[in-house]
């Protein structure tokens, strides 16, 4: 689709001074998904008791299905067809293929990992939830970040339980393998609810941004309008969950309480953020008596505390309109993301339309993430 992409290899030709020019871009990717070869990969990191419970009863979440979700994806594991490794494991599980097809191929300097699926998040059993989150965090570090430091681990927190989440952050944060705290947008209650505040406090204390990635098993439809029928609807609606998260964090006063907190909304696209900020500012002007804990306009909090990743990048017919949105959001607030190895992967060299100035695209591909993630 994006044949006019400004960073496509052809367009780079004039600037080539060495054999591997792509590496010189040093791309930072805000969204990459690792996967265990099978759940047995997690076994070494779990107590016998919780492994046995998992093996016997499975992962029980608020969508009622074992091993799958009620909206069948568009492809097996929602993955790129070419991302399946020859060893029979799922996409995102084979380090050699990840290096060849992704890290080396695109010149990725750092990729923020976000494990999905059976990771503890949304798990109904509270102890299994915490055990799984700890296991997935150890597994990420040992299987990916240790052998391949370009892959940065995310601290998966069992977010329904703030106390356990804080324990997990405290346990993992001393290790520089972890670049961010990883949560899902469809939490049990709105993200700004006070039950979650200890998590934000711990993240801010350790200088870790909190990534809120789309999906989650809250038991609620994505809006008060009810459950849609199709994957295409559910997928398109992830941007509404992102809007709920930003609204809740801002209006419930999280950024007023934790002035050092940085939040990244992941895999919901980004163009929704500008209209949301305008909407919230207007409502704040009318209704501020209800929220006396807020001291500034909602857009001020958003501008200071919120970042958005770019994938799946919206595609207006008039490409200039995408640049307008980026400008309204703020060029420094956008972080490139690929979503590797999923089907709707954004290629860093082709995802940006020409209407986005080349230096801005480079900023989004490389510089912005450095101000957000803990990459030491």
């Amino acid at each position: 689709m994006m044949l006019d992409a400004p960073l496509a290899p052809e367009a780079e030709a004039n600037e080539r001074s060495q054999a591997t020019p792509r590496a010189s871009l040093a791309i930072m990717d805000g969204d990459m998904h690792p996967a265990p070869r099978s759940l047995a990969d997690l076994k070494p990191y779990m107590s016998a008791c919780w492994w046995e419970v998992l093996a016997t009863y499975g992962s029980r979440r608020r969508h009622g299905m074992l091993g799958y979700e009620p909206y069948p994806k568009s492809a097996p594991r929602a993955a790129r067809r070419d991302a399946w490794p020859e060893d029979g494991g799922p996409p995102g599980s084979n380090l050699d293929l990840i290096r060849k097809q992704y890290l080396d191929h695109y010149g990725i300097e750092a990729a923020m990992m976000g494990p999905l699926g059976v990771s503890g998040q949304g798990e109904l059993n509270p102890d299994l939830r915490s055990a799984l989150a700890s296991a997935i965090n150890d597994w990420q570090r040992e299987h990916f970040t240790r052998p391949e430091p370009r892959l940065r681990s995310g601290i998966v927190v069992p977010d329904d339980d703030a106390e356990a989440s804080v324990r997990e952050i405290e346990r993992c944060a001393p290790d520089p393998a972890y670049a961010h705290v990883f949560m899902l947008t469809r939490s049990l209650e709105p993200a700004g609810n006070r039950r979650y505040w200890p998590i934000y406090g711990a993240a801010a204390r350790h200088g870790l941004p909190v990534a809120l990635h789309v999906f989650g098993a809250s038991g609620h439809p994505h809006s008060g309008g009810g459950w849609p029928s199709y994957y295409v609807e559910e997928g398109a609606a992830h941007c509404t969950s992102c809007q709920s998260v930003v609204t809740s964090l801002v209006i419930e006063g999280v950024f007023e309480r934790f002035p050092a907190l940085k939040v990244v909304l992941v895999e919901g696209g980004f163009a929704w953020l500008a209209p949301l900020a305008w909407r919230l500012d207007k409502l704040y002007a009318r209704l501020r008596s209800e929220v006396p804990h807020l001291k500034r306009r909602p857009s001020d909090y958003i501008r200071e505390h919120v970042w958005v990743t770019t994938q799946p990048m919206e595609e207006p017919r008039e490409r200039r309109q995408l640049a307008d949105m980026m400008e309204w959001i703020g060029w420094d607030r956008l972080i490139f993301s690929s979503d590797y190895p999923h089907w709707d992967f954004d290629d860093p060299f082709r995802a940006f339309p020409t209407a986005v100035p080349r230096d801005r695209a480079r900023q989004i591909l490389t510089a912005n993430a450095k101000a957000v993630y803990r990459l030491g």
Binding site: E252, W278, V291
Partner: protein, 357 residues
Amino acid sequence: MSGDWTGAIDCDFHPRAPSPRVLSRYMDEHWRSAVETRGIDVWQSISYPANSPLTMRPDWREASANADPVKAAQATLDRFGFAHAICNCLFPVQAFRDENLAAAFARAVNDWLAAQWLAKDSRLRASVVLPMQSPARAVEEIERRADDPRFVQVLVLVFGEQPLGKSAYWPVYAAAERYGFSLGIHAGSSYHHAVTGSGWPSYYLEDYAAQASGFHTQLGSLVCEGVFAKFPKLKVVLIESGVTWLPPYLWRLTKFWRGVRSEVPWVDRPPEEIVRDHVRLTTQPYDAPPAGSAGAANIGRLMDQLQSDEMLLFATDFPHWQFDGEEMLPAGLAADLRRKVLIDNPLATYPRLRRPT
């Protein structure tokens, strides 16, 4: 104030629903007695708390404190020279769990609108409030109003039972299409689900902000379930949605559809095209950057995102507080677009407006 409003059609004007006791005068003996014996005496929705600044603009609150509401409405129509105002009565129907009770209240509200508003000024028009708890009862209500040309639209709230594209609702759309009603979807909730995908927010401000997410849901559902393929003459009006959320959502929905359209093979052209043909939006509120030096330029760029000059319908949202002063439209609209928004687009959207009353 930028000039002339003569002939404009206000597509979102709110009479405040009376108390259940008053409504019960329009009910049969069974329901009149139920209202009394069961003590159904207060009925307000948290979507629009009566004293909230958003529910009534302060200067209008002052002016209307002791005034006859119909006379106040007439004064507004006179002052600006509006040709019509479409009365959208939002409550009290949708929150009931009992579909029969909901149907009784819907019928009473519509009868009350006809008697207390439509009969008193020939410029007034109204939407038929539907009891969507039961599509069959909603169809009955549509048929009951079909011969009264003063009713031009059927009205539902953006947060209801199920997404509106579901086939269970298709008989409602068949009836609406047959009689030339457009389908109005207004902000507000039945509260049969939590407001957000993560449950109930703490503050009213968040609740109101979240209404926009419901418009995403309903548009996605109407398009993806194939409602517009099944009912090609149906027009949908998104009322009080905020407007500027729409283009980013359409870019996103259209991109997803390109990727996974095999799931919904009956959606045989890009969602953004379907929406441009079938969906209209009222202009209040219009979520935009503050007016200022760049204000008009920004509005122009945002209007361009709609890729159509036929989608916006003028609305005051009276008495809700969506704008200050008398500038009822976003700043900087070109004169020809302004005329379309005020007059031509509403006339094209509501065929029943052209019928003699």
